[in-house]
Subunit: 235 residues, 2 copies
């Protein structure tokens, strides 16, 4: 059971504030990317395990930190009894991303650049392609993947931002074929503006924001119960 | 509610196997210390929040990775509504340890080398001084702190190994004054041999060990329910 909070009880933030918070977590507040990515990926996996039955799951990972969250999420999903496969279309030269590939591959989680040929046998796709720093439109090799995912009709769970969406204005159009039309979303730290009108299943994770940062920006943070790492956001 | 498992359902490991597993997680399986420390500290904080009411808590951190787990634990305890203060008697020059100090200090968690002068006002102490690589006896400045903690009679929660214990043979003597006599313990990854005859509250965390490593060493791992990060071990 995931605790439910009201949409009205948390701040929805824009792209520049999201970037500022991210920057300050690593500079002023001394966090390491590895630490917060681990918590973000864990929260994402917990939301998926809370919402979907155990199954095969294709995890689409971009080359940036959103993709890193996806790798970590896949690792935890395996611990939770899911059977993840990673789709990693554009390899990053970043040291941490290389480690994440090794962690998954040595845990028998396949990492491949293309969508699985048996995609239709996957009941669930996790979208960790682009995060809050994305500016549309998506480019190749991602456009082709986004179109194939859309055409597949498979349920998609998006991490932080549904890929291809404008972080503040949301989906360009209901009919767009080169963006993700998610079934459920987990927002990290705080929901972004694009989630304001979202009415589907919506989780929130990222229980790590220091008080000083909350006060500095006057943020309305979610109240998490007990020692939980996720909540569900409803109207 | 924390799920309970039987002591008979998990392996108890010795010091050299614990060191070997640790080494392989970072070499062969590509993990970063920051990732596993974050999960270890989170699991420790969750066990504390599951077992004790919210309160002031003094977290004793050694200069090694066990101390790092303590810093991370303190950070999460604050998120869970506890009021932590860190006692860090011997500063490490390690880059990650320096970051952990900054993370705590910028979150208004005091970090000081000595026990608080008002120690008696703390209902709980967390012991993250020495981990599985410790070989007795403890030395200064730790001996003095261990004696003061013993004399205080305050409940102590130990992370991985009660400090001052022999990892395989346990407490040198019930009467020893320069070791921790814990009220409760969380073992990380798997319990160490010294915990075999322990009958007090015993938690287990570290839901991150890859299958390959489990199989290579024939380990009997705990079965965690759902997406939980801790279980409780009973007879």
């Amino acid at each position: 059971m995931v605790h439910i909070i009201s949409k009205k009880s948390v701040s929805f933030i824009g792209q520049s504030l999201a970037a500022k918070i991210d920057e300050q977590l690593f500079s002023k507040y001394g966090f390491k990317v590895e630490q917060l990515m681990e918590l973000a990926g864990l929260a994402s996996a917990q939301a998926i395990a809370a919402h979907y039955p155990k199954s095969k799951v294709a995890v689409l990972c971009g080359p940036g930190n959103n993709g890193g969250d996806g790798f970590v999420c896949a690792r935890h999903l395996q611990q939770f009894g899911f059977n993840p496969s990673i789709v990693y279309p554009k390899e990053s030269k970043n040291e941490l991303m290389k480690s994440l590939v090794i962690q998954c591959e040595t845990s028998s989680i396949p990492v491949q650049p293309n969508l699985p040929t048996d995609l239709q046998s996957f009941p669930l796709i996790v979208d960790a392609l682009f995060g809050f720093s994305f500016k549309p439109p998506a480019r190749e090799p991602f456009t082709e993947i986004l179109k194939a995912v859309r055409a597949s009709g498979i349920h998609v769970f998006s991490i932080d931002i549904p890929s291809g969406w404008d972080v503040e204005n949301g989906a360009p159009s209901e009919a767009s074929e080169d963006i993700i039309h998610p079934h459920a979303v987990i927002s990290l730290t705080l929901p972004k503006m694009c989630m304001k009108s979202w009415t589907g299943p919506h989780f929130l994770g990222g229980r790590f924001v220091p008080r000083g940062l909350v006060e500095e920006h006057g943020l309305q943070m979610p109240v998490y119960p007990g020692f939980e790492q996720i909540v569900k956001v409803e109207d």
